[in-house]
Amino acid sequence: MKVLTVDDAVFIRVTLREMLERHGYEVVGEASNGIEGVKKYNELKPDLVTMDITMPEMDGIAALRKIKQINPQAKVIMISAMGQEKSVKESILAGACGFILKPFNEEQVIRGLSKFKS
């Protein structure tokens, strides 16, 4: 399963990559902001996108909307933090298929994503 991770924190990206790759996911790309994320989505056509909400240049919700325009079936999972309820609501209404709360651990991520593994 091909995954694209979009997060401005390298730390989170690396952590996610390590977690996912240990469980048979293929992280095909990483992006550090929304603009790059949309671009990479277009290029790589991943099965799944993990999307941080708070990012420079273009935030995760705007990027989610753009991705949904490109492909209404796109599966985008938001990475959010406690206290960001408002943004999470917004992203769900914009078509996010789920969200993972920071701080997350490997087990949680894999459990959450396993629902999409076909």
């Binding site: 977690m19 603009i35 790059e36 406690m82 408002k86 209404l93 914009a94 087990e107």
Partner: protein, 683 residues
């Protein structure tokens, strides 16, 4: 945590990235202090704090995460309520203390200590600050929205039913989420949003999941209940629920039509239209996007590389250059007519040369980050000393080798401290002298030839020649008549060990580090420092440092069977001695007189105890070397050639000795020692 899953990746990256963010944040804050407050940069401050909070929480560094969260809250509030006026200097101080706290914790992490810092005081102060600015805004004083769990529970207990149309099934689903997933109300919202594709009519309980985040608790314990009409098959619906993230368990059943009664609490949600709140904040980041799109390209073109890898690459290129020389200048090729070979060899040489240049340039880092650290130091010191000081930074884009950057920060910090502490006068003194009240410290970097100059200049009181001379006499540093000394020579005394003309010790001086240590540290990276001053006008400290330490231009010379490399930069000229130039002083020391100047003679074979046939001054070659105003003539057997050499350290087993700076590999694979001209002249 379950042990079958390993913890997130090590702290190295966290430390690196957080440090970067903190540096950026600090710059941002200090910059905004000049340009009308934090309001302009609050989006970025918010984002940085948010990222640090998230990463720290991932690493389970609660103290960092919590304090970052408190700052994030403040900026979140400010972003949402842009009209709010805040005490900028108080906010700046709070944020800076948080930066300091986190930096301190990160430093502990870097040295492998455990994080023990307690930020609760700081967190409280920030929360109090937030509460304070919230009360300033009467509309928002009533936040946040909370509802009573019991009321929710009551409303939930009343069962609900809806009516279906022909051909539609009415279904009831109850969903429970994983215990640790958090924000259950929004998980429920996700289910609703996705279920929209299958359902025509949709009702649910609790009904206020969007507005009321407290429903999360209710759903956690009681589950989330949905009634909907659908034309989809049960199999399709089961497939759908199986795909819901963090779904612990669910029940799905078709219900009898006749049972239906109007629900009271559940309500419908318009899945196509955005929420009011959503559209409000969606406008915000979109605006920012337009502004900064251009800078994006530049930012994205950088990657971080492990320094150890860079060093290895550097070594390898050095080896490559040597190997190339070993091949193309192989003695076995001599006298052969190999046109094509030499053509190819020239191409190889060109490419290796370019490669070397590129690798060198990769190691070059702008001084900007180091310089901007000084801004903070000046600010804090000026505040504590009750002085008005402005730091002017010039040429921050000047690049020097990574190794040098690491070694220049401390000496530079000391010079800046000195300038603010001892150089710049208190405001009243400046007023009395008719100087501008705000003192100025200028930090400048520039390229000049093969060197980089870093200049620290202040417009403070300057140095007092007489005081320094007096102190030098007391310390016994002056052995002869001092009237002939130039100002520069006099000022150079402050670089000597144990020399300080300051009677008063402030927080920033008297830390046991004197100017002599600064001078020594700079010398250690191959640089030199000089002092110039005018009393009442100011002091200028000029540091000259080489661009890079790793590759130098060297002259290879022969002494007996040994081949030494002399840094070309130190060589003034080479010549054969003529009888009329040699003079011997009363102590029988040999001196060479050239153009009216006297130079001491240093026979390298004597100094290094090497057997050579060329012991006679007239037979060998004299190499005049000069560094920092001191000169000598070295006697060597012969000059062999000039080439770029890669400096390598001597093995640790061999203790560092004066006169040898390191070693290098020559084209034939042999090892040549690199002379430390400064050390040689001193002995």
């Amino acid at each position: 945590m379950v042990s079958e899953y390993s913890q997130v990746s090590g702290p190295g990256l966290f430390v690196f990235e957080t440090n970067q963010l903190l540096d950026k944040l600090e710059l941002l804050i200090l910059g905004s202090e000049k340009n009308g407050g934090l309001q302009a940069s609050m989006d970025e401050v918010f984002r940085i704090m948010h990222t640090i909070k998230g990463s720290a929480a991932m690493m389970a560094f609660q103290n960092i995460s919590l304090v970052a969260h408190s700052v994030e809250d403040v900026f979140y509030f400010l972003r949402e309520n842009r009209q709010t006026t805040v005490d900028d200097s108080k906010l700046t101080d709070l944020v800076l203390s948080v930066v300091d706290f986190i930096k301190g914790e990160i430093a502990k992490l870097e040295t492998g200590k455990s994080l023990t810092g307690d930020a609760s005081g700081l967190t409280n102060a920030i929360q109090a600050f937030l509460a304070e600015i919230k009360t300033l805004d009467p509309v928002l004083a009533g936040l946040p929205l909370k509802s009573d769990y019991e009321v929710m529970r009551q409303s939930f207990i009343e069962a609900c039913r809806i009516e279906g149309e022909e051909g539609q099934t009415i279904c009831e689903a109850v969903v429970f989420f994983d215990d640790d997933c958090g924000m259950e109300n929004l998980r429920a919202l996700t289910v609703l949003s996705e279920l929209g594709t299958y359902a025509q009519k949709l009702e649910y309980a609790p009904g206020d999941i969007v507005e009321n985040d407290a429903t999360a608790d209710l759903i956690r314990y009681e589950g989330f209940r949905i009634w909907f009409t659908t034309t989809a098959s049960m199999t399709a619906l089961h497939d759908f629920f199986a795909q819901v993230m963090f779904l612990k368990e669910y029940s799905l059943m078709a219900i009898d039509h006749s049972d239906a009664s109007k629900p009271r609490i559940p309500r419908c949600i318009d899945l196509d239209g955005p929420l009011v709140t959503a559209s409000e904040s969606a406008g915000q980041p979109a605006d920012a996007t337009g502004d900064s799109e251009q800078s994006l390209a530049a930012k994205q073109s950088f990657i971080s590389v492990n320094v150890a890898k860079m060093d290895t690459l550097m070594d390898l290129v050095g080896e490559l250059v040597i190997a190339e020389a070993m091949v193309t200048q192989n003695p076995e090729l001599q006298d052969l007519n190999l046109d094509k070979f030499f053509k190819a060899a020239r191409q190889l040489r060109k490419i290796t040369g370019e490669l070397q240049d590129v690798v060198m340039s990769i190691r070059m880092v702008p001084l900007a980050a180091t310089f901007h650290k000084m801004t903070r130091i000046v600010r804090d010191m000026a505040r504590n000393l009750d002085k008005q000081v402005e730091l002017e930074i010039v040429g921050e884009q000047t690049e020097v080798d990574k190794n040098i950057i690491e070694n220049i920060a401390d000496p530079l910090m000391h010079l800046i401290r000195n300038a603010v502490d001892h150089g710049i006068e208190p405001v009243d003194v400046r007023a009395a002298k008719g100087k501008p009240l705000t003192g100025k410290v200028r930090l400048e970097a520039k390229n000049s030839g093969g060197d980089v100059w870093i200049i620290v200049q202040d417009d403070g009181g300057g140095l007092n020649r007489e005081k320094i001379l007096q102190k030098a006499r007391e310390r016994g540093l002056l052995d002869q008549d001092d009237s002939g000394l130039t100002d520069k020579q006099v000022y150079a005394f402050i670089l000597k060990p144990g020399f300080s003309t300051k009677e008063c010790v402030t927080e920033y001086s008297g830390r046991g580090v004197g100017m002599d240590v600064v001078a020594k540290n700079i010398a250690a990276i191959g640089g030199a420092i000089s002092v110039d001053s005018a009393e009442g006008v100011g002091t200028t400290m000029s540091i000259r440092i080489p661009l890079t330490l790793a590759i130098i231009d060297g002259m290879t010379v022969k002494v007996g069977d040994s081949v030494y490399t002399v840094p070309t930069i130190a060589i003034k000229e080479s010549f054969r001695l003529r009888e009329q130039n040699l003079i011997t002083d009363p102590d029988n020391r040999e001196m060479i007189m050239i153009r009216g100047q006297c130079y001491p003679v240093l026979r390298l074979h004597e100094r290094f105890k090497i057997k050579t046939a060329v012991a006679d001054l007239y037979e060998g070659i004299m190499l005049m070397v000069e560094l920092e105003g001191k000169s000598a003539c070295l006697l060597v057997d012969a000059l062999l050639g000039q080439q770029q050499v890669v400096v390598k350290a001597l093995p640790g087993y061999i203790k560092k000795m004066q006169g040898i700076a390191g070693c290098t590999l020559l084209g034939d694979g042999s090892v040549s020692l690199i002379l430390d001209v400064d050390g040689l002249i001193q002995t």
